[in-house]
Subunit: 531 residues, 2 copies
């Protein structure tokens, strides 16, 4: 059977075999040899075969790590109980709608007043196409997905310090950046100033590439004209009928462009995790967490705040109280524990794990972030500016403006992500009252969209470092911390194993939590069967 005639099923079986016999690294080499670049570590739905013989598992936290563990272990025959702090499943997979109430650390409560059908995702808002784990569970739960627009050439890049504070369209910045690089490199090439292209043919190929990619003219220059406007946009675009000739636009000055630093904003789309296609669940990211909750049914015990985790050689005992009413502590007991509580919270809870694991939990710092959602009377960004979805970037404190990727073209209101920022910006904003946070977001946004102030209706803000059950956004793993602590955090420690985005190489993504959970329960199941 020739290579050409091998169907994907044959390939997959072969890869599985290679994986089983020779381990992961060889399998990946084999995949590459077959021309299949690896897209994900999710290798299809997990299959936990073998009878756990009535073993019980206590899962703590109904974020992705906990939901996946509870579901898959339950399916494999374990007795599962899942304790969740909130009155819903999903964790950071969470959407705020009109009518919702959110109380942050310190007691400030916000009442969300968005119109029906509009929302803010305080946590994750986009799903990369190569995150096959979350795509699998969304499909399993029948949660429909729709495209998420990461890159919009009509959106803006903006700095108060550049171009007199006037925003530029993404397409202008991208075209001019490419054009000037191409022109500069073409000049050096044609003047034989490069070490690289050794042959005359190489040189000509490079020149041709620069010309086509940069929209250079026959002299290899990036100049105002119909060719460059065919990338950066026109002063007057091509039309129909008489007087419909396009009028080209003037490129930015090269020096001003590079000094602006705004070219940084056109790079986000090239990051592996941000590359088209991206998806979002219809109706908000939290639709998946909600659907998973329905699937799990009464396995989940809501409003359960864990206060102590103790293990011995017979099992694990977890103490918890009612998160809303307090009251007398209760105890839950099981043979094993899968702990999906973020390290930021877990480090404050008494737990008897080994010193290396405890140290790994305690050493992790979680980064701050804040999102501010703003509802406007009308979708002026679409109607006035032809911006349908995507993101504008600014060097102001709000960092970006995310336009809704749903209800395109509708005549009613729309909810914008008016700020999404981390670091000092996040601390600064979260130290303000909710009203003042919105005021700042409106001030920033109005420099890009003057329509902001006239059209604003209502807003809400969530800072994850002030979310009581998270106390931070993502764990800030450094290379040094990883080298010392990551594997310690992954171990099955007696009868306890950690899951969650922090137990992964992609702590800012839902997929990390899912993959960590699949890895942990696979190892746990093996341990149980061999016990």
């Amino acid at each position: 059977m020739s290579e050409d005639k091998k169907g994907p099923t044959d390939r997959r079986s072969l890869l599985k075999l290679i994986g089983a016999v020779a381990g992961g690294a060889v399998m990946y080499q084999a995949m590459d040899a077959m021309g299949l670049t690896a897209q994900s570590n999710f290798t299809g739905p997990i299959s936990l075969t073998g009878d756990p013989k009535g073993a019980s598992v206590l899962v703590l936290g109904a974020g992705w790590g906990g939901m996946v563990a509870a579901y898959e272990l339950g399916k494999a025959g374990y007795k599962v109980q899942l304790l969740e702090y909130n009155d819903r499943t999903g964790g950071r997979n969470w959407t705020l709608y009109g009518g919702d109430t959110y109380t942050e650390l310190g007691g400030i409560t916000q009442h969300v007043q968005f119109d029906q059908g509009h929302y803010l995702n305080p946590g994750p808002w986009r799903i990369p196409h190569h995150h096959r784990g979350i795509l699998h569970y969304a499909s399993m739960l029948n949660v429909p997905l729709e495209p998420f627009c990461q890159t919009n050439y009509a959106a803006y890049v903006h700095s108060d310090e550049a171009f007199g504070g006037k925003p530029k369209r993404y397409r202008e910045m991208q075209a001019d950046f490419n054009g000037y690089i191409a022109e500069t490199l073409a000049k050096a090439t044609s003047q034989n100033k490069l070490d690289h292209p050794v042959t005359q043919q190489d040189k000509e190929t490079l020149l041709q590439a620069m010309k086509e990619w940069g929209a250079l003219d026959k002299n290899y220059e990036y100049k105002k004209g119909l060719m460059t406007s065919g990338r950066r946009g026109y002063d007057k675009p091509p039309g129909g009928g008489l007087d419909s000739e396009p009028i080209p636009s003037e490129p930015m000055a090269m020096q001003e462009l590079f000094n602006s630093g705004l070219w940084r904003s056109i790079m986000a789309a090239n990051q592996y995790e941000h590359q088209n296609m991206m998806f979002q669940p219809v109706g908000g990211m939290g639709q998946i967490g909600k659907a998973f909750g329905r699937k799990l049914g009464n396995v989940v015990q809501y409003n359960s705040k864990v206060t102590k985790i103790q293990q011995d050689d017979k099992g694990v005992t977890v103490t918890y109280v009612d998160a809303k009413t307090g009251g007398a502590p209760r105890e839950a007991h099981a043979d094993w524990c899968v702990c999906n509580i973020p390290a930021s919270v877990l480090s404050q809870i008494p737990i008897n794990v080994s010193a290396p694991m405890k140290r790994a939990i305690d050493v992790l710092h979680y980064s701050p972030n804040i999102k501010i959602g703003l509802q406007f009377k009308r979708r002026f960004w679409e109607q006035d500016e032809a911006i349908y979805g995507g993101i504008s970037y600014t060097d102001q404190i709000n960092t970006l403006i995310g336009y809704p990727n749903y209800n395109f073209g509708s005549t009613g209101p729309g909810v914008i992500l008016g700020a999404y920022t981390g670091g000092q910006n996040a601390y600064y904003l979260s130290a303000l009252s909710p009203e003042d946070r919105i005021k700042v977001a409106l001030d920033c946004g109005a420099r890009i969209h003057p329509q902001y102030k006239k059209e604003f209706q209502t807003g809400v803000s969530v800072a994850f470092h002030r979310v009581p059950w998270m106390l931070g956004s993502s764990p800030s793993w450094t290379d040094e911390l990883r080298a010392e602590h990551f594997n310690n955090l992954c171990q099955i420690d007696g009868r306890i194993v950690m899951v969650g985005a922090h137990v992964s190489w992609m702590p800012g993504w839902q997929e990390g939590a899912i993959l960590s959970s699949l890895d942990a329960i696979k190892r746990l199941h093996k341990r149980v069967l061999s016990a």
Copy 2:
């Protein structure tokens, strides 16, 4: 009132005023001064005020130009009759579904056998976000739109002559192309070989830009590692739990990359007309044309093949026959005629217009093209390869493979655009039988997707140069032809005015036809009122 406080309505009124007083060019300068880059020549719904006093108009051809003219003139009080060759409205705005039948020039008939809910758009398939005219009419007609994915980083670029015929992912080509350009330019910069950056600060800014944009290491080199894999993808992507460390992938060799010519394929998305966001109507492009037909009602006379167009100083007489049954010629008469028949067809119909207009009609060559739609049992491109929508490019005769931008993640079949090509490729393919066209498309596609042959179910092909009512795809305006003939084609010639994509600066886009029609009826209306 300060600039900052001006709402969009104020701006728009001001611009309208400037436009009315000083003409288009000044208005566009004013828009630019306000920081509003022009997005479209569509300036909002047309308003034809003034009583045409019972004037009648005969519209020929129910493509975009004809539909818009018939609708807007009817609304303005004209007596309108629209003669259409087909049994449907829309022209090239057209979708083929299972159960449809299509007969091309020469009599070959294809019976479309796609499953329900799947389709091929033989003509236009995407709508740019700045094509405000078509967006307006889609909205008016309540035809829902959904995102069209132009760029997919998971899709392939492929050449039989490069990389041993192995397809590369778009993300690999893009990352390596950018990386090597950045590295080469950074080297020349740091060796002070450029004329351009005059100051030390300029030089450092350029170096920094190259480093960030190209994912270069601290030595300004583009090398295998986690940083470059964060753009081009991994051999093993980051995972969760133990053994989840990512394994970086190896960049292509620079020389092989440039010599491959495959970098050409990563540029399409930078073209003004292809820039994200793009849209498609839910259910196929033809949904708009159909909806417009319902709106126009019995204004449209279907199956009417125009055979002669004659005018005198009193009006226009059009002779036509039943396009299906032939029979005795009939005549229609009106005061004015808006002619939306493509020049390729019109040049074969007797018409008494001025010599310059007749010459403009006759001189226009229409380019050939062909599309081939292929239905497969399952969406292997999604399931096996994580390609959700977008386009793969190849140097084979099929030129590209377009993946469906609807029903993402569904488990049933899917229809791929298996070929979309022009020039000699189109003539070569259309000269084959429909079965052989599909065979060629399958052969080409199987070199990129080995699953093709096992999963194929049914296909259909449409070559516009063999579509009886088009005789070509888009008119091939050259600069020289435009300079000599375009304005002659736009004139109101006695009582006849031409509309259609060929009467625009964007002959390959529906928007061109719409804008040409709006321009023509505006002038016609003025002429009628002043008559």
